[in-house]
Symmetry: C2
């Protein structure tokens, strides 16, 4: 068997960024923590922690922490009074800003959420650094199962004043040179919609606002036009073209080893998605 007290120390160091903080959290001395890690590293024949600051886990360490979390989830099912395990999940920013938070009450775990705003989620899942992912990527990752959840619907929106100023001549390739609001360099929603609208490959430019809520506020403040999830549309936002939504599919990817432990969460996510997303 693996040395579980050592894995617990490893997980705390990685989560807290230092041996001292991990020792304080576990109520032991820093040298006890060091010895546990040293023993584990010697047994496995490789370095597990890049001493920082902050201290960081190697890829192998992340897999061990993931394994610890799986074992803890299984223990939780045996004994609901056991300490809550941690569940590391990557969620796309717009889901986290809209329909996702209530599903977190479905499982008695501590969530460690990562926001996937740079397409890292596949990589994290493949390396076992997260147990599950919500993303618009339909392709299964080896060792994982993928469930389609439906579509998040977006509309191109701006303030009425912005529309009057920039789009009096219609929504064309030319007028779409008006400033856009864009989440980050990976955000293709604005250019995808502009292509649907005009039939041309356009490259809208504008403000980069990498927070879903601040993105919507920037559009509300008249800084630009942007693609707003329909559930975040509210006055003073108005449609550029109410007949042309952009539907982005969402998928729930789960490590196969975690499928059973996460079944209540998967069920709740599917229910919530059925209610809040488009089919």
């Amino acid at each position: 068997m693996l040395d579980y007290p050592a894995l617990i120390a490893l997980a705390e160091i990685i989560r807290r960024g230092s041996f001292e903080a991990a020792a304080a959290a576990l109520g032991v001395t820093p040298s006890a923590i060091s010895q546990r890690i040293k023993g584990l590293e010697e047994k496995l024949g490789e370095v597990l922690i890049q001493r920082g600051p902050p201290a960081r886990g190697t890829a192998k360490a992340m897999r061990l922490v993931q394994h610890l979390d799986q074992v803890r989830l299984l223990e939780q099912a045996l004994d609901p009074t056991a300490p809550k395990p941690t569940l590391r999940i990557a969620v796309n920013a717009d889901s986290l800003a809209t329909w996702f938070p209530p599903v977190m009450t479905a499982l008695p775990v501590l969530y460690d959420l990562l926001i996937d705003d740079q397409d890292h989620a596949r990589d994290w899942l493949g390396k076992g650094q997260v147990s599950a992912v919500i993303s618009s990527d339909p392709h299964p990752v080896p060792g994982c199962e993928v469930t389609p959840l439906g579509h998040m619907r977006y509309y191109a929106m701006a303030t009425p004043d912005f529309i009057a100023r920039h789009f009096a001549g219609g929504i064309t390739a030319k007028t779409l040179a008006a400033p856009a609001v864009i989440f980050n360099h990976k955000d293709a929603a604005q250019s995808r919609w502009a292509r649907l609208q005009t039939g041309q490959r356009l490259h809208p430019t504008g403000h980069m606002i990498p927070s879903s809520e601040a993105f919507a506020r920037a559009v509300e403040l008249g800084l630009g036009w942007g693609m707003i999830p329909e559930t975040m549309a509210r006055p003073p936002l108005a449609h550029l073209n109410a007949d042309l939504p952009l539907d982005i599919p969402l998928y729930w990817h789960v490590q196969r080893a975690m499928r059973q432990s996460l079944a209540p969460l998967t069920r709740t996510i599917k229910e919530r998605a059925a209610a809040d997303l488009r089919p």
Copy 2:
């Protein structure tokens, strides 16, 4: 003089992540873009782009793009009809979620916001990768000016149900073992408040939710207690101890070379901070 068309190409490649996207945005061929970059690299005697994907700028390239943005801001002051320059700023997540967005209307620029949730802002500022930063770090960065803005006030909050279940025995070192909501591994607000409350060094553990709004929603959903900015406090959130706020100072750091161009933004930020933050 520097080759400004080449700098414009460099900036577009870095912003868009590829030579092709930069070429499309500028309405020229990819080979024209390649030649501009090659010429610039030969003249400066160093590589500027790490060919990707995505293509990334070197530290030198980031300084050149920063310089281009400065020149464009100066041109904008001469001629308001000139193309809008880009202004790259790092903002802490809670400011972006509360008082910051309206100040963006103060300058006719395109904002490229970075969220500083990992203490990278000093580094970005020192390397010239951002022109200005809002952070809780009071220490000036060489070549930059720092202006204190006041304090963001936080309260420890949870749902009434969570408080009844976990804190019936008072708010003590023992009861503060209840699950907390924590922004990320760098977020010391919960442990700082727990120390103020109990006089002991505690290490609250719980959910990691790295989005200001989702953090507040997680607390509202009863997943844990957490430090909420006073302007985000709303039912059903209730105080753990309404007499014990935690005040976090905020500072505006500006590259000295950008001071004059950014004066209208600095003035608006100071006004807004005076209205929305604590002294």
